[in-house]
């Protein structure tokens, strides 16, 4: 189906189902229950899951396939965001030209940086990409402020030209981003019993993009091009002595992953028309590296899982404060309640970084292949149990 084999097509279907039903899946707890804090089914976070998923999928095309570890991919995301916001400022609030421009601009930027950085391999390559990205960030933060609006981030104002759109709405506000009139920020709320599910246009826009990006990634993984990239990772020497020029292969992978990053950046700006320079900082580049490794580098679904994992902690765990903890444990006797809260306090709220750090260590120590391996192990375990059950039932009559 769609040029995919059965296994890949199933994977695509599963991802599609997860993405389409995310507003339900991520909102498992009734809105007024104590566990509602763990609900992640609100538009902003769902958009982030999907956008960072795209970013990580793209990064994985470079890192997972070729083994080239770029420490500067956030620069492409940042450039994509800036391009999109400029498009909103100058042309119109339609996201289509904005996203197209951001993909093109970040692709060109990736071509430039990739062409230079790919002259080196290994850690030398990593440091070159890091250096370019850090330069971009620092300049964006200071000297390039006329283009980037520095620390505050590039944002829309009431006096932007928007030649194909309107400068300001009739009510005197800044117009909103849209897809041929469909407003990205519009949300429908569905209340079912104690649950409340939010369906956001912007989210579904991102979701469609994710599915396209994911589908394209599968095709790349299964194509001769993907195989060549894996061969580059495996043995460059043999590549050269097999009459293959590795340079254009790696450069193509670099540019493609840069364009994925640009798409993510453009989408991010389309959901929330502000582009902050921190998006380009090395920590942001490091984050996508962590997402990919955490999920499982070189696997199709891993990076998406990794992205979801990190964004979930950043957005959910950081919001659990002392009051919330007390509300969970108020049934306990006071002394114990305080003790439990005191312990947990370290790991949530302002301590969310600690939890994340510990989880990084645990996952990589016990699941060398990342979260995907965790899933595989779980699957194997279940199958084995299943098999045991079967053998048990089969062997019973024989006795």
């Amino acid at each position: 189906m769609l040029g995919l084999n059965k296994k890949d097509f199933t994977l695509l279907l599963i991802v599609a189902a997860l993405v389409v039903f995310a507003p339900f899946i991520l909102n498992p707890f009734p809105a007024d229950s104590a566990m509602a804090q763990f609900n992640a089914g609100y538009p902003d976070l769902m958009q982030r899951f999907v956008i960072f998923g795209i970013f990580a999928i793209g990064f994985n095309i470079l890192f997972g396939l070729t083994g080239y570890l770029s420490f500067g991919h956030a620069a492409f995301l940042g450039v994509g965001s800036y391009s999109a916001v400029w498009m909103f400022k100058l042309l119109s609030m339609n996201i289509v030209p904005a996203i197209i421009l951001s993909v093109i601009v970040s692709g060109l930027f990736a071509m430039l940086i990739g062409y230079i950085s790919l002259r080196r391999t290994g850690i030398y390559f990593s440091i070159l990409t890091l250096a370019f990205a850090e330069m971009s960030f620092r300049l964006a933060y200071s000297v390039l402020t006329p283009i980037t609006n520095g620390e505050t981030g590039l944002q829309l104002t009431l006096d932007d030209p928007r030649i194909l759109g309107e400068t300001a709405t009739a009510t005197g506000s800044i117009p909103v981003t849209n897809f041929f009139g469909i407003e990205m920020r519009a949300t429908e709320v569905m209340n079912v019993g104690g649950w409340s599910f939010q369906f956001n246009n912007g989210y579904y826009m991102c979701a469609i993009m994710l599915l396209l990006a994911f589908y394209l990634a599968i095709r790349i993984f299964r194509s001769p091009f993907g195989m060549m990239l894996r061969a580059v990772k495996s043995n460059q020497q043999r590549m050269n002595y097999t009459g293959l020029n590795t340079k254009p292969y790696t450069l193509a992978a670099f540019v493609i992953s840069g364009m994925y990053a640009g798409l993510a950046g453009g989408l991010m700006a389309s959901m929330d028309p502000l582009a902050g320079a921190e998006r380009m900082q090395w920590t942001a580049s490091g984050e996508v590296v962590l997402m990919t490794i955490l999920g499982g580098a070189g696997t199709l679904i891993g990076p998406v899982l990794g992205a979801g994992f990190i964004k979930y902690f950043e957005n959910i765990f950081s919001k659990i404060n002392e009051q919330v903890l007390h509300s969970w444990f108020h049934a306990l006797p006071d002394g114990i309640e305080n003790a439990v809260v005191w312990v947990l306090e370290h790991f949530v709220g302002s301590g969310w970084h600690l939890t994340l750090g510990l989880l990084f260590m645990l996952v990589v120590t016990f699941l060398p292949g990342g979260l995907v391996e965790g899933g595989q192990r779980l699957g194997r375990l279940l199958r084995r149990k299943d098999a045991e059950k079967k053998t048990a039932t089969q062997s019973t009559p024989a006795e």
Partner: protein, 253 residues
């Protein structure tokens, strides 16, 4: 004029003259061995042929065209394939995939951005790879991770990958180094079979005289960066200069 003509090639590394003034002509469809004691410059010469090193002086012509100044992949595309001392294969890939890569390289050239069509659907390449694996007795291992194969199988795979490109010149750098006797004999048989079936020129660098004398039609002896003798195997065996070169080495050791 042979298919490969090396004229006056010299190469220095700092103060060390690795190759002095090497002249060598390899005739088409022959097996030509280059032997010599350690440090004689055999590997340096080989590296000059495939573009890994650029000689300081002289010329290297393959089929009337100069290979100098070309990158390894360009030289490969001219029709020269190389087998390494330790098998260089794509360890992370399966045997089948290993086989398909040279097939792609042969059909699509040094670079083709073919990112949409799946490998599976490319029957032409699959068939070619299958045929080659069949030919080289690798078909049963097609789904194996190539890194987990035995050394002999890796060597076989590497040779198969080279042959899949239908090269006119195959360079072998000590193909039996570190192999057990039985594997060595298998490799000899394999090379003989290849020679029998195909129109191919083979240049082999080898330490193991058993291998050399089983295969070579002509032998060049290299010592201290210069060719000592070049002749048919029968004449090499008792040649005094050769003895001196090797015994000298033995005495030094």
């Amino acid at each position: 004029m042979g298919i490969l003509d090396v004229k006056n090639v010299g190469k220095r590394f700092g103060g060390l003259q690795a190759l002095g003034d090497v002249n060598l002509s390899v005739k088409e469809n022959t097996v030509h061995a280059i032997i010599g004691p350690n440090g004689a410059g055999k590997s340096t010469l080989l590296n000059c042929l495939v573009g890994k090193l650029i000689p300081d002086t002289g010329s290297v012509m393959f089929d009337g065209q100069s290979v100098l100044g070309r990158t390894p992949y360009e030289i490969n595309q001219m029709g020269i394939s190389r087998v390494f001392q330790t098998p260089e294969i794509f360890g992370d890939l399966t045997v089948m995939e290993n086989m398909m890569i040279p097939c792609f390289a042969m059909r699509d050239g040094a670079f083709k951005l073919n990112g949409i069509r799946s490998v599976e659907s490319d029957t032409e390449i699959r068939e070619r790879a299958e045929a080659m694996m069949e030919d080289m007795n690798l078909a049963e291992k097609r789904h194996m991770h190539s890194a987990s194969m035995s050394r002999g199988d890796k060597r076989r795979l590497e040779i198969a990958m080279c042959l899949a490109q239908e090269p006119r010149l195959l360079l072998l750098d000590e193909p039996t180094a570190g192999m057990a006797r039985a594997d060595t004999n298998n490799t000899i048989d394999l090379l003989k079979e290849i020679k029998q079936k195909r129109d191919i020129t083979i240049v082999i660098i080898e330490h193991d005289m058993h291998v050399v004398f089983s295969l070579a039609e002509r032998i060049t002896v290299l010592a201290q960066g210069t060719p000592l003798v070049e002749d048919v195997p029968e004449n090499i065996k008792g040649h005094p200069k050769v003895r001196e070169a090797y015994l000298g080495e033995a005495a030094a050791a």
